[in-house]
Symmetry: C2
Subunit: 307 residues, 2 copies
């Protein structure tokens, strides 16, 4: 199947498309804002969706913030939102542990974004904060570190205090076959380079731990299909009547493909129409999963088409 420009659709086709969806999932950075600046027209489009009776969810692989932090950002940038609209991977990780009836303690490689969401649902956790090597590795192994027998899961998210002792502790817990291994997301690096810096993302830290334990984590964030379980259960969402909007095909669009959503790529972020054209020519099934049903320049460009 090939992608279509939303602008090439007739007014009736656009109307039919939006009549066929009840739920809209939208990525945030690159769709709604770039870093701290709202993208023009995007807030108005989301308002329009709501006027049309659509349920809108904000869905982000960010796990450094909680849903409450996210609401503060929304308010600053002019986006209407209540807590139930917000799906951060910090929150989704807490949902997942609730869903499986997890009762033990979690060792977190990550920030307080995760621990605060876990605290809200009463899941005990340790690990957040700086943990540099205070002794040498031999002393750490032989004396300093004792496995906490209560720990039954390791969550790896973005951790600016990522360190060798954290790797060692995560790997040692995960060496117990019944210890759950959960990754909030696997984004390799930050979305853009600032000042010639590459900002390593959660995926880099997951790769380090995955390599030393020799097994793969359960992926909570995009493009992991858990998200649809989380919201179907909680909010009665029908995948066939859901539209996923995003700027990155290997997370946003791939999630949509995997869950059976309709998909819309906006060109205000990571991927371009040229990328999509290349995947259309490819022989590989996995490339075709990255192709959105529709694309449009910016989300704001939708506004005149909706009224």
């Amino acid at each position: 199947m090939s992608t279509r420009s939303l602008k090439s659709l007739s007014k009736d086709e656009v109307k039919d498309l939006f009549n066929s969806v009840d739920t809209i999932l939208t990525d945030c950075d690159g769709v709604l804002w770039l870093h701290t600046k709202a993208l023009p027209g995007s807030p108005e489009v989301l308002n329009e969706f709501r006027k049309m009776g659509k349920r809108v969810f904000y869905i982000t692989n960010n796990n450094v913030i909680t849903r409450d932090d996210f609401l503060i950002k929304c308010e600053k940038l002019g986006y209407a939102a209540v807590k139930e609209d917000v799906l951060t991977t910090s929150y989704l990780t807490a949902c997942y542990l609730q869903d499986i009836g997890f009762k033990k303690k979690v060792y977190i490689v990550g920030t307080s974004g995760i621990s605060r969401e876990l605290n809200l649902v009463g899941i005990r956790n340790i690990g957040v904060g700086p943990d540099p090597l205070r002794v040498d590795v031999a002393t750490l192994v032989m004396q300093d570190f004792k496995l906490d027998p209560e720990v039954g899961a390791v969550i790896v998210g973005f951790d600016e205090h990522f360190s060798y002792p954290k790797m060692l502790k995560a790997a040692s817990y995960l060496n117990q076959p019944d210890c759950l291994f959960i990754a909030t997301n696997t984004d390799e690096r930050g979305p853009s380079r600032v000042n010639d810096c590459v900002v390593p993302g959660t995926g880099s830290m997951v790769a380090a731990i995955e390599t030393c334990v020799g097994r793969k984590p359960f992926l909570v964030g995009k493009p992991g299909a858990y998200i649809i379980d989380a919201i179907r259960e909680r909010y009665n969402v029908d995948p066939k009547r859901t539209l996923m909007i995003g700027d990155r095909c290997n997370t946003d669009i791939l999630l949509g493909t995997r869950c059976g959503f309709k998909t819309l790529l906006v060109l205000s972020g990571v991927n371009t129409v040229e990328d999509v054209m290349q995947w259309e020519k490819s022989d590989k099934k996995e490339d075709h999963e990255l192709i959105p049903d529709y694309y449009i320049g910016t989300l704001g460009d939708l506004l005149p088409m909706l009224s």
Copy 2:
């Protein structure tokens, strides 16, 4: 081809085998010693090799120590050795940079084992030692960290002070396409578990940086085939007349297969005869590359067969 127990060979066959080699490369941990204890008979076998006129090289993926450090360990455990016999990956990395005429500066993720070997050949380097996050990531990116324009290579070895700022710096240098990316080795974890701890190895740190830069490093250590270039050039070694001895098939034996050495597995370390039997039954070419020509219980078991 299937593996053979050295003990199943006749005296003449053993004689022919050792007449067919001039050079012997031996792994260390698991073959010559376990941690700080010599394996019985191994020193005598190496002495016997030398009496037979063989050139013996010690070859280890260890990069935390220099060749001088290694000699101290050899003396303690009863192994005769001079500096020229010792191939640590810290030393081999210095050899590689010399071989390619590298003149710039190196950013090291690793210990002074690497920097001291580089200093000995006059290669400038930075990065060794603790580098925890002292500010927040945004400040690190925007103000604190400036790329050193002299840096033209990143070496990743074992680093007990591995940290987020080190990942960010390594990735930022490597984002320049002409910056060399070198891994001393890719061993995922330490050879054995002590006190329920899994000790992450160099390979875990390499995986983290590889993931955020999106490219593969040049591998200096086993099973990378660079080693044969390094010693062929320096010591006039003939691969066809070389025997590789090791306890780990995916480094030692694979190196031997790739370089056209004869290979001998000792069973005093990582791999077992059962592992080898499984690879013999496998359809995969890469499994067959792990199969040694010969195996024996311990290196010491060779002693009566040599006299």
